[in-house]
Symmetry: C2
């Protein structure tokens, strides 16, 4: 059982982009940050349900396959669930639609808990908990499989700072964003206790892994 986190970041460490608008919720910067990942066959099959066999199959795809492998539960921030959009609406079920892509228990960190929601094969639980306590819940639910710290980046940072992440993989796109939330903010000395390795895909993406 490993506690894992995966993020897509820019060379300057930014895991979020800031050019979103209500009309373009992710923005053009985000498109560039994720372009190598969404080009993979695994992303096309798993997320876009494209079974035509298109998509890249090199190193980026190996990491994409690994991303989806052996996860038994996930912890995410309220922002990733979409709680901030309608915080006062008890019927709001997040922005992942009727068939969320998780297919395992998801623990959403929030200050204000609410009843769990079951959507297809994904159940969302809402926890007002410190990282270690939330992790204990997720580990129990994961049934021996790995637990993903799913983001956003501030949530991943919180778990990294608490020493709770066994494996951090960042896919670094060869672009400079200059603004957003940096995964590296206040992370001095993170490498202690990890072995760090990196390799570069044909897309130019640097895959960097911190592993205990």
């Amino acid at each position: 059982m490993e506690v894992r986190a995966d993020l897509l970041i820019s060379l300057d460490g930014f895991a979020t982009t800031t050019d979103q608008t209500p009309e373009i919720p992710f923005g053009p910067d985000w498109s560039r940050l994720v372009s190598a990942y969404v080009a993979t066959r695994t992303f096309r099959e798993r997320v876009l349900k494209d079974t035509s066999g298109s998509g890249t199959t090199d190193m980026d795809d190996e990491y994409a396959r690994d991303y989806f492998a052996n996860i038994g539960a996930e912890i995410m921030g309220a922002g990733k669930f979409g709680l901030h959009n309608f915080p006062e609406d008890p019927n709001w079920k997040g922005w992942w639609g009727d068939e969320p892509p998780f297919h395992y228990p998801v623990f959403v960190l929030t200050h204000k808990t609410r009843p769990s929601i079951e959507l297809s094969s994904t159940t969302f639980h809402f926890l007002a908990a410190e990282p270690a306590d939330a992790l204990q819940r997720a580990v129990a639910a994961a049934n021996g499989k790995d637990v993903r710290i799913g983001g956003g980046p501030t949530v991943v940072r919180d778990f990294l700072k608490a020493g709770l992440v066994d494996r951090l993989h960042v896919a670094i796109a060869p672009i400079l964003l200059g603004r957003g939330i940096s995964i590296w903010d206040d992370m001095r000395g993170l490498e202690a206790g990890y072995s760090v390795r990196s390799e570069t895909a044909e897309s130019g993406t640097i895959h960097l892994t911190f592993e205990r």
Copy 2:
């Protein structure tokens, strides 16, 4: 003729360290930032005058050899020359000693010019000039060879922002420093107009190159 810059940085972009003291002018963080570079055979031969054949000879050494190749002149900040140590002493000749390792004309950017200094086969000229004007002087002095923008990082950033650098190589050590001067600060969009490539050495150092 290319205008080149080479820097050693951490994963979080820091090209300087902040734990210097008068007694330990570079500090332990700096040692970790440069460790793969100073381990190379080229560094040992060129800088330490160690001709015993010791030192690494893999990718880190290839970049080290390239670092020293075909430079005809250099532009550096006053800090790299050491001007800040004794700014009011007209006889202060910087901290590079009687035989500076440059062996070509060096242009030191400063607000207060002073007469040129010749030390062995290196001549230091002092310019109060904008990047483009300083570069014009250096290109003329380089006699067809490349010009190095030698740093510190703020000087390299100034030349990058002015669009004057043809090739930027950063050797990224797999450590997080959390403080210092970041080469990526305010560098949004730098990749436009460059091709970016990266590869990882056995030491874990990521060699990232922006080239026109």
